[in-house]
C-alpha cells in the first residue's frame, strides 16, 4: 500500500493535476472570501465554504478522472494484479494519495479564519466545524470519483460522468421540488428512478437476472405502495433527495450545527464507493 501511495503522490506532483486542483480550490475560496468577508464585511467564513462547494463539480473529476482509467488504458493494471499487493491495498493507496493532494490546499484555507480573527470577531467554532464538513464532503466525492474512474478506460468519459453526477447531486433537491407536487408525480418520478437503478446495475454487472430483479422489484414496490397508500408519496421525493444529497448536509454545518449523522453519512459514502471501486477492479479479473 505504501508503494502505491508514494508512487501515486509523486505522479500527482510531477504532473499538473495536483497544482491545477489546488489552484482552482484556492482561487474559488479566495474569491468567496473577498466577496463575503472583505467586501460585504461578513464575519462568517462558513458562508464562503457553502458558496465554494460547487467547485467540487469541476475539480474532483479533474483530480480523479485518471486514477484508475489511466491504469487500464496503459495496461498497467496488469502489473498491479500480478504484484503481491491486494486490490484493497491498491485502492486505499490511491485514495490516500488523493486525500493528501486535497488536504494541502485545505490546510492553507484553514489559516483564513485565523487571519480574519485578527481583525474582528470570527465564529471560529462554526468556521472550523464547516471546514471539517467541507473536507469530509470532498473526501466522499473523491471516493465517488475513484469509482467512476474505474468504470471506463476513457478519462474524458470518467470526467464527464463525474461532473454530471456531482452537479446532479448539487441540484437534486431543487430539481425534485420542481417535479409535480402531487403524490402521482412523485410516484412517477420514483418509478423512473427505480428503472434507472436497474439500468445502472445492468451496466455495471452485465447480470440480467440481478438488474431486472432489482429494477422491476423496486418499480413494483413503488406501484404497490402507491395504490395502497398514495398519501405517503406526498413530499417524499424532496425528502429522499435531501437525505441523499451531500451538499445539503454541508449547510447544516454552515448554520452552526455539528451534525454527527452527516459525519457518519459522509464516511459511509466514502467507504461504500471505495468498496465498489475494489469490486470494480476485482470484476476485471472475473470477466
Amino acid at each position: 500500500m505504501a508503494a502505491v501511495f508514494k508512487h501515486e503522490l509523486r505522479m500527482y506532483f510531477q504532473s499538473l493535476t495536483a497544482y491545477v486542483f489546488g489552484a482552482f480550490l484556492l482561487v474559488i475560496v479566495g474569491i468567496g472570501a473577498m466577496l463575503y468577508n472583505l467586501q460585504a464585511a461578513v464575519s462568517n467564513f462558513e458562508y464562503v465554504l457553502s458558496f465554494s462547494s460547487i467547485i467540487y463539480a469541476v475539480i474532483v473529476p479533474i483530480l480523479t478522472m485518471r486514477v484508475i482509467s489511466e491504469e487500464r488504458r496503459q495496461k498497467t493494471d496488469q502489473l498491479l494484479y500480478s504484484l503481491p499487493v491486494s486490490t484493497y491495498q491498491v485502492i486505499m493507496g490511491k485514495y490516500l494519495a488523493l486525500l493528501v493532494v486535497f488536504v494541502i490546499p485545505l490546510a492553507i484555507i484553514c489559516t483564513y479564519p485565523l487571519i480574519f480573527a485578527q481583525f474582528g470577531d470570527v465564529y471560529l467554532a462554526t468556521s472550523y466545524g464547516s471546514l471539517f464538513a467541507f473536507f469530509l464532503m470532498g473526501a466522499a466525492l473523491i471516493a465517488v470519483g475513484v469509482f467512476i474512474s474505474s468504470l471506463s478506460e476513457n478519462q474524458g468519459f470518467a470526467a464527464g460522468i463525474g461532473v454530471a453526477v456531482i452537479v446532479l447531486n448539487y441540484f437534486s433537491v431543487t430539481l425534485s421540488e420542481y417535479v409535480s407536487a402531487t403524490a402521482l408525480g412523485f410516484a412517477l418520478a420514483l418509478f423512473v428512478l427505480a428503472a434507472a437503478v436497474g439500468f445502472l446495475i445492468h451496466y455495471l454487472t452485465r447480470n440480467d437476472n440481478l438488474s431486472y430483479g432489482v429494477g422491476l422489484g423496486l418499480m413494483a414496490v413503488v406501484v404497490i405502495a402507491y395504490f395502497m397508500d398514495s398519501s405517503m408519496f406526498e413530499g417524499l421525493l424532496p425528502e429522499i433527495m435531501t437525505t441523499l444529497s451531500l451538499f445539503e448536509r454541508l449547510d447544516v454545518f454552515v448554520n452552526g450545527v455539528f451534525d454527527m449523522t452527516a459525519v457518519v453519512y459522509y464516511l459511509s459514502v466514502a467507504v461504500f464507493f471505495l468498496f465498489l471501486s475494489v469490486q470494480s477492479l476485482e470484476k476485471r479479473r472475473y470477466n
Partner: protein, 323 residues
C-alpha cells in the same frame, strides 16, 4: 515448481483454455508455442493471478495462486504482452515502485535495482522518461521489473513481438542468460525462436495443450524422414527404369523436367532412409547416370507445429507428461 491442473477458462460462451494440465520443473527454459488466439496469454494471465480461472488450480511452489496469492505472486516475475509501464516515470522511479510493492526496502531495494538495471542493459537510459524510450528499451524495463524481488519463475508473454531483428537477438540472449539462474517461461508464435532458446516446448492450439516435449523429441516423434528429393541428368523414362530395380519405393513423382535436368520426389515406406539412399546411389552408378543433387527431407518443428495445430482435435497430446 509450477503445477497447473485441469485449467479451463470461459469468456462468456467462448472456451479460451480447455482443460490444460502440466508441470513445470525448476531451472529450465520453457516455451509456450501456439498461433495467435490459441490461449497462450490467457493461460499466462491465469498463472500469474491476473485473471481468474473458470475451473482448475495453479500452484506456484505449493502455493495456490487464488487462495494464497501473496506468497504465490512473490515467486513470479511477470511481463505481460503489453509492458505495463507508467509512461511519465523514469525507469529508476518505476523500478523503485515495483520493488517497494514487492516488499523490498532500502539497501536491498537499491542493490536489486542496480543488479537488474545492469542485467537488462538499461543503465544508460535509467533517468530518461519511459515515454521517450524505444520499444526495445521499454521491453527491457518490463523485464527488469519482472526480475525484481528475485523470483524463482520469470514469465514473459511474447517478449520479442514488435522488435527489430537486432533487438530480438538481444532479448533472446537475455532470456538464455536468465535461464541459467531462473525458471523461464515465455510465449511466442515464432517457431525458430522457441526452438533456439527452449529446453521444453508446450504447444497450445485452440485452448488445448497439444504437445509438451523437448524440441528434438518433437521433431523425431512426429516426422520420420521418409522422403528424398532427387535431381538427375536422366530423362523421366530413364529415371523410372533405373529406380525400378530399387526396392521399397512407394511412390515416385517427377516434379520438373527441363529437358536437361529432372527433379523427382521419392517416397518410401521403409524406416531406414539411408538404406534407400544407398540403393538409389548404386542403381544410378550401375546405369551410368549422375545424381546431381539428393536431399533427405527431415521433419522440422514447423511441420510438427502445423500438423499439431491443424489437427488439434486429436485426443492425446503427443508426449504430454502426466501432471
Amino acid at each position: 515448481m509450477i503445477s497447473v491442473e485441469h485449467l479451463s477458462k470461459y469468456y462468456g460462451n467462448f472456451l479460451a483454455v480447455d482443460n490444460i494440465s502440466f508441470e513445470i520443473e525448476e531451472g529450465h527454459v520453457y516455451g509456450f508455442l501456439g498461433p495467435n488466439g490459441a490461449g497462450k496469454s490467457t493461460t499466462m494471465n491465469i498463472m500469474t493471478g491476473c485473471l481468474s480461472a473458470t475451473s482448475g488450480h495453479v500452484r506456484i511452489d505449493g502455493f495456490d495462486i487464488f487462495e494464497d496469492p501473496d506468497k504465490a505472486k512473490r515467486q513470479i516475475g511477470y511481463l505481460p504482452e503489453h509492458p505495463p509501464l507508467y509512461m511519465n516515470d523514469t525507469p529508476m522511479e518505476y523500478l523503485r515502485f515495483v520493488g517497494e510493492a514487492k516488499g523490498l526496502h532500502r539497501e536491498e531495494l537499491d542493490r536489486q535495482i542496480e543488479e537488474v538495471v545492469q542485467k537488462t542493459g538499461i543503465y544508460g537510459v535509467r533517468n530518461r522518461r519511459i515515454s521517450n524510450l524505444s520499444k526495445g528499451y521499454r521491453q527491457r524495463v518490463g523485464i527488469a521489473q519482472a526480475l525484481l524481488g528475485n523470483p524463482k519463475v520469470i514469465i514473459l508473454d511474447e517478449p520479442t513481438v514488435g522488435l527489430d531483428p537486432l533487438q530480438i537477438i538481444e532479448i533472446r540472449d537475455l532470456i538464455k542468460e536468465l535461464g541459467q539462474s531462473h525458471t523461464v517461461i515465455f510465449s511466442s508464435h515464432i517457431l525458430s525462436e522457441v526452438q533456439a532458446i527452449c529446453d521444453q516446448i508446450l504447444m497450445i492450439s485452440k485452448g488445448k495443450l497439444v504437445a509438451f516435449d523437448t524440441p528434438a523429441n518433437l521433431e523425431k516423434k512426429l516426422l520420420a524422414p521418409n522422403e528424398t528429393r532427387l535431381t538427375t541428368d536422366a530423362a523421366p523414362d530413364e529415371l523410372r527404369h533405373i529406380l525400378a530395380k530399387v526396392p521399397s519405393i512407394s511412390q515416385l513423382t517427377v516434379e520438373e523436367n527441363s529437358g536437361k535436368w529432372t527433379v523427382a520426389h521419392i517416397s518410401t515406406d521403409r524406416s531406414d532412409i539411408y538404406e534407400l539412399s544407398r540403393a538409389i546411389y548404386l542403381a544410378f552408378a550401375a546405369s551410368d547416370k549422375v545424381i546431381l543433387e539428393m536431399t533427405l527431407k527431415k521433419g522440422t518443428l514447423e511441420d510438427v507445429f502445423i500438423e499439431l495445430t491443424e489437427s488439434s482435435t486429436a485426443q492425446k497430446p503427443a508426449g504430454q507428461k502426466e501432471a
